[in-house]
Amino acid sequence: MVIQEINTMDIASAQANVWERLSQIGNSNQVGSAYLFSGPAGSGKESLSIQFAQLLNCEKPSHQSCEICPSCKRFQKLQHEKLTIIFPLPTPKSQKKDDNSDDNNAINRKDLELVTDSIFKKSEDPFYKILIPKANRILIHSVRELRRTLYFKSEPIGRKIVLIFDAHLLSAGQGEAANALLKILEEPPGNTTLILVTDHIELLLPTILSRCQRIGIPRLNDGFVGEWLQMKMVKESEIKFLAGLSRGNIHQARFLIAQPIGDLMKLVGGLVKTITDDEPDQWRKFTQTYSRLAHQEPTTISFHFMLLKIWFRSINRLQKGIHDLLHDTSFKPIMDRILRENPNANFSAVAFELEEAILSIPQNLYMPLILTNLLIRIQKHLNP
C-alpha cells in the first residue's frame, strides 16, 4: 500500500504538465469519449491513464482523486465495476464461440490465473508491465466482449472507462480488432471514455487516430527514475549509473536492476572498446557473436545496442558540455579518453547508426553484412 501511494503520487508530479491538463479535463464537464496516450516506453502512460480513470470516477475529485472514497479504493485494486482493461492476450486455441456462455471468451482458462495475477501486480505497482506469454496482439474477442458489455445502461455517477494497453497491437494481423474497435469509436456509448495507450503511435490506423484526442507524454526525468530506484533499495552508488542507462524508461530501469551491475559495466565498456578500436580480430569476433545472437536471442542484441546508443548519446552531451548522469559514473574516464582520441567525432551520428541497427534486427536481414557496415560507418563518424 505504501509503495502504491509513492508511485501514484509521484507519477502525477513527475508528469506535472500532462497531469495538469488531465486534471483540468477531469474536473470539467467536457470529458471526451476517446483519448490516446502516446509517448516513449516506460514514461508512465499506463499509470497516468489509471490515475485519470480514477479521477473521473472519484466521489470527491479535486486536482487529484481523493484516494479514500469507495470508488478510488476499487480503482486502486483495478477492481472497479466501471473499469475494463484490455491488453494483448494469446490467441485461443479454439476460435469456436460457446453460444451458451457469456463468459469472456478472449481468455484461455489456463491463462486466467496469469491474467488475474498480472492485474493484481499492476494494481500493486502501476509501473508493472502486463506481459502474457505468447500474447502478440489484442484479440477481436476482447473487443467483442467489450462491445457486448459497453452498451448496458449504468449509473449516471462516474464514467465507464476502457483502458487499452499496447493499443498499437490492435492493428496486428489483419487488424480485425482495430476495425471492431472503430465501430465503438464511431458511435461511442454515452458516459464512456476509452483510453488507448501506446509506445508506437505510428502503428495505429489513421481512422483510429482521427477519433481520439491525443495526449503526448514525454519521457520521465532522471530525478524521478533515481527516486524510483531508491525506493527499490538500489545502492546509492549505483543509482546514477542505472538512472543514466534507463533514460527515463521505468521498464528499462526495472530490467537493469535485475542485472549484476558489474557485468553491465563490463559489457558496455567492452562493447565501446570493440567498436571504437580498429582491431580486425575483435571486429570479426563481434560480427560472429552478434550475428548468432540476432538469430537466437534478438532481445539480447537489442538490449546491448540500446545500452551502447545511450552511452554514445551521453558522450555526445559531454562533447557539447551538457550534463548527463553517466558523466558522474566510472564511464567518465573512458569518455574523456575517447573524446581526446577523436576530437572531431560525430557521436550523435554513431547513436543514430546504432538505432538503425536495432531496427534491422527483426527484419530478417543478413546480419554479418549489417554489422560490418555498422562498424565501418561508426569508424567514419569517429574520424570524419
Binding site: 465495476e81 457469456d102 493484481f120
Partner: protein
C-alpha cells in the same frame, strides 16, 4: 461476522447465485459472493456486472458483518457436506472459517467494500406480474434474440409497456417475434426497455409461483421473486422500428396441423446441407411438400403434409433451424402462415389465438438454387 445456517439453505442459495458468477473474468472479486448479515436479515449477492442475484437465507446470527467469499469454494464444500449446521465466521483480518460437525475449513475472504456496489433502484416503478405470464412472454420471444454483439439493440427483448398491455419484440435480423398481452396490468407505467438475454434465460429456469414484482428503473430492471432478487442492466440502445418490417399485404395463406408440419420439417431437415440447412416448402391447394437436397452428400428428402393453401402454388426456401424454431413457438394445434412471394417475409401465427394474446412471428426466406 458469525452466523450458523443449514447446509441445504446455503447450498440452494449458492446454486442460484452461481448463475451470476463469471468463470473467466479479469475482476477476481466477481468470483466471490458478498455475504451481508444484519439483525434483520442475511443476504448473499453475486454479480457479473450484467445481472445481480441476491438471495436471503435464514440464520442464527451471533455477530453482524459483511464479507466476500469465493463462491466456487463455498459451493464446492457445501455440496460435499452431509445435511448439517454450518457456522461461518470471519474475523477483522478477513480470515474466514467454515465450521461443521465434520471439521473446520479455513479460507481467506476479501473485504466487502471491494465488491461492486449494489445498483441504485430507488425511483423505480413497481409492476406486479403473474409469474406464469412473465415466463410465457419470455419463452415466446427470447429464442429469437440476436447473439451478434455488433448489434447491441438486438441482443435483448424489447418490452413496450403501456395502458393497453405489454408488447415484447425480439429479432436477430432473420426472424422477428412480436408477442402482446392485453391483460398485463402496467400499474400506470408507460415506456420501453431492452432487457438482455441473460436475465431472460435465468428467469425461465426459475420455478415461480404467484406474482413477480418488477421494479422498472432508468438503468435497471429488478425482479423480486419471494425473498430473492434478480437485477439486470438495461441495454442502452434504440430498438429498430419493427412495425415497418411487418408485411401488411401477404395474400396467400397456408393452414396446417402444427405438429404434423413441425415433424415433417424436423425429419426432412436431417438430410439438408449442414452449412445452409436449406429446406423448401412447395405449397399446393391441398398439401404442403417439404423438400431438401444436399448435392455434396448426394442426399435428398421429401415429405408431404395435408394442408389448405389459399393462393397460387408457391415454392419458398428457409433455413430449417429457423423454421423449426418459429413453427415450434406457435401456440395451439393449427398454424397459419401468410405468404406474399418466394423472396418476401412470411408471417406465422396460431389459428386459435389465446384470449388477450397476440403472437406474430416473421421469418425471412432464403433464395433457392434453381
Amino acid at each position: 461476522m458469525k452466523f450458523s445456517t443449514s447446509k441445504t439453505e446455503l447450498q440452494q442459495a449458492l446454486q442460484k447465485l452461481s448463475k451470476a458468477t463469471p468463470t473467466r473474468s479479469t475482476l477476481p472479486i466477481l468470483g466471490c459472493v458478498l455475504i451481508e448479515s444484519t439483525e434483520e436479515k442475511t443476504t448473499l449477492r453475486a454479480t457479473d456486472l450484467e445481472i445481480t442475484i441476491q438471495a436471503e437465507i435464514p440464520v442464527s446470527l451471533e455477530q453482524a458483518g459483511a464479507t466476500a467469499l469465493p463462491l466456487k469454494t463455498l459451493l464446492d464444500i457445501t455440496n460435499e457436506l452431509p445435511e448439517t449446521r454450518i457456522t461461518l465466521t470471519v474475523d477483522d483480518k478477513d480470515r474466514a472459517a467454515i465450521i461443521t460437525d465434520a471439521g473446520e475449513y479455513d479460507l481467506m475472504a476479501k473485504p466487502a467494500d471491494e465488491f461492486p456496489a449494489v445498483p441504485d433502484t430507488s425511483g423505480s416503478q413497481k409492476v406486479d406480474v403473474p409469474g406464469d405470464m412473465l415466463k410465457n412472454i419470455i419463452g415466446a420471444t427470447s429464442f429469437a434474440v440476436s447473439r451478434d454483439e455488433l448489434k447491441p439493440a438486438l441482443t435483448g427483448v424489447l418490452f413496450r409497456i403501456s395502458s393497453a398491455g405489454i408488447t415484447a419484440v425480439s429479432t436477430d435480423g432473420h426472424r422477428l417475434v412480436k408477442y402482446t398481452r392485453k391483460d398485463f396490468n402496467a400499474n400506470g407505467f408507460t415506456g420501453d426497455m431492452i432487457v438482455p438475454r441473460k436475465f431472460l434465460a435465468f428467469m425461465l429456469t426459475q420455478s415461480i409461483t404467484g406474482d413477480v414484482s418488477l421494479l422498472i428503473g432508468e438503468n435497471h430492471l429488478t425482479a423480486k421473486i419471494g425473498n430473492d432478487m434478480v437485477l439486470t442492466r438495461i441495454i442502452d440502445e434504440r430498438f429498430p422500428d419493427y412495425e415497418s418490417v411487418i408485411p401488411k399485404e401477404n395474400d396467400k395463406t397456408l393452414k396446417a396441423d402444427k405438429n404434423a408440419l413441425l415433424g415433417a420439417i424436423r425429419r426432412v431437415s436431417i438430410f439438408s446441407n449442414k452449412s445452409t440447412h436449406q429446406v423448401a416448402l412447395n405449397m399446393e391447394a391441398t398439401f404442403c411438400k417439404i423438400t431438401t437436397e444436399d448435392p455434396e452428400k448426394s442426399s435428398k428428402a421429401q415429405e408431404q403434409v395435408a394442408a389448405e393453401f389459399d393462393g397460387e402454388a408457391l415454392t419458398i426456401g428457409y433455413n430449417a433451424d429457423y423454421l423449426k424454431d418459429v413453427v415450434n413457438h406457435v401456440s395451439g394445434d393449427k398454424i397459419v402462415v401468410e405468404f406474399s412471394t418466394s423472396i418476401s417475409a412470411a408471417l406465422f401465427s396460431s389459428e386459435n389465438a389465446e384470449e388477450n394474446t397476440e403472437s406474430l412471428m416473421l421469418l425471412m426466406p432464403i433464395r433457392l438454387n434453381d
